[in-house]
């Protein structure tokens, strides 16, 4: 069982971060409301962007290569996630556990070489 008191500082920091970010958002709004004249019009609130329309449909299709990069990232991310319990339990699993992970890494290095040789990691 974990000693949860170890996580208390993180919880406290979480609270402080939440309070600070809330203050940064709402304090300037309140200060501006109290000190300046609050007189918005449609033209003042409109976004101005030079050269292209400020609003358009965000659902434009873009290059599938972004998706490939994301998939490759997930796969190597998962591989790294498997390394953490392996690293802390080597004393229990011994050489057999070490060899297991080396086989696992070899499998993924194979995939890595394939991705590299195919040019999937090049942006062009």
């Amino acid at each position: 069982m974990v000693d949860l008191i170890q996580y208390l500082p993180i919880l406290i920091f979480l609270g402080i971060a939440l309070a600070l970010s809330t203050a940064f958002v709402f304090l300037p709004m309140g200060a501006a409301r109290l000190t300046g004249t609050h007189n918005p019009t449609a033209d003042k609130l409109a976004e101005y962007e030079c050269g292209f329309p400020a609003f358009e449909d965000p659902r434009s299709q873009f290059d599938v290569r972004f998706y490939l990069v994301a998939i490759l990232f997930i796969i190597f991310d998962l591989e790294a996630a498997f390394l953490f319990p392996w690293a802390v339990s080597l004393k229990q699993t011994g050489w057999a556990g070490w060899a297991t992970m080396m086989v696992f890494l070899a499998e993924l290095v194979l995939g890595f070489i394939y991705a590299w040789k195919k040019g999937a990691l090049d942006w062009e």
Partner: protein, 205 residues
Amino acid sequence: MIQAIAFYLFATLTIFSGAVTILARNPVHSVLWLILAFFNAAGLMILIGAEFIAMLLVIVYVGAVAVLFLFVVMMLDIDFAQLRAGFIKNFPLGFALAFVLLAELVMGVGAYKAGGLALGTPDAATAPVAGLSNTAAIGALLYSRYLFLFETAGIILLVAMIGAIVLTHRQRGDVRGQKPSSQISRRPEEATINLQPEVGKGVTL
């Protein structure tokens, strides 16, 4: 005390953001609320002592899967008017699915009231080793007893990687990539020439 407060905080936020995930009209907002739900679920996992699962939830689900969801949502060319047009037509099917899910929920609550599950007692090989942290206990089992499943996971990852590359990678012919060795080994003498052309005459390159 703090544990109870943290539990109610995380649990409430998980349920709330899960509900907003379903109810939000904009799919991109849905995914962002889903990410918040993942974060709070990670907090709940820490509270029950499953540290590794909590970190995995943040690293894999928030870091990778949610990003992929965003990709898919943004890539899909959804026409909302067309989607709503099929609502009446597909209503019976949708209603049937919703009913099945509701029945499952009711049965789940019923099972909860019936008492705890009688899981098999762990044998000597799978019993958690005393004095080990959660992560080390997972590792001690995963890399010895469940070694075959672990290697299978590696093979599945390899297949996924190769499949993604085969399906989506397109080689464009007109691209000139970098060739570092020849670029570095190039000398000024072979790259430039000095000429003194006469007045009124051109230069042939």
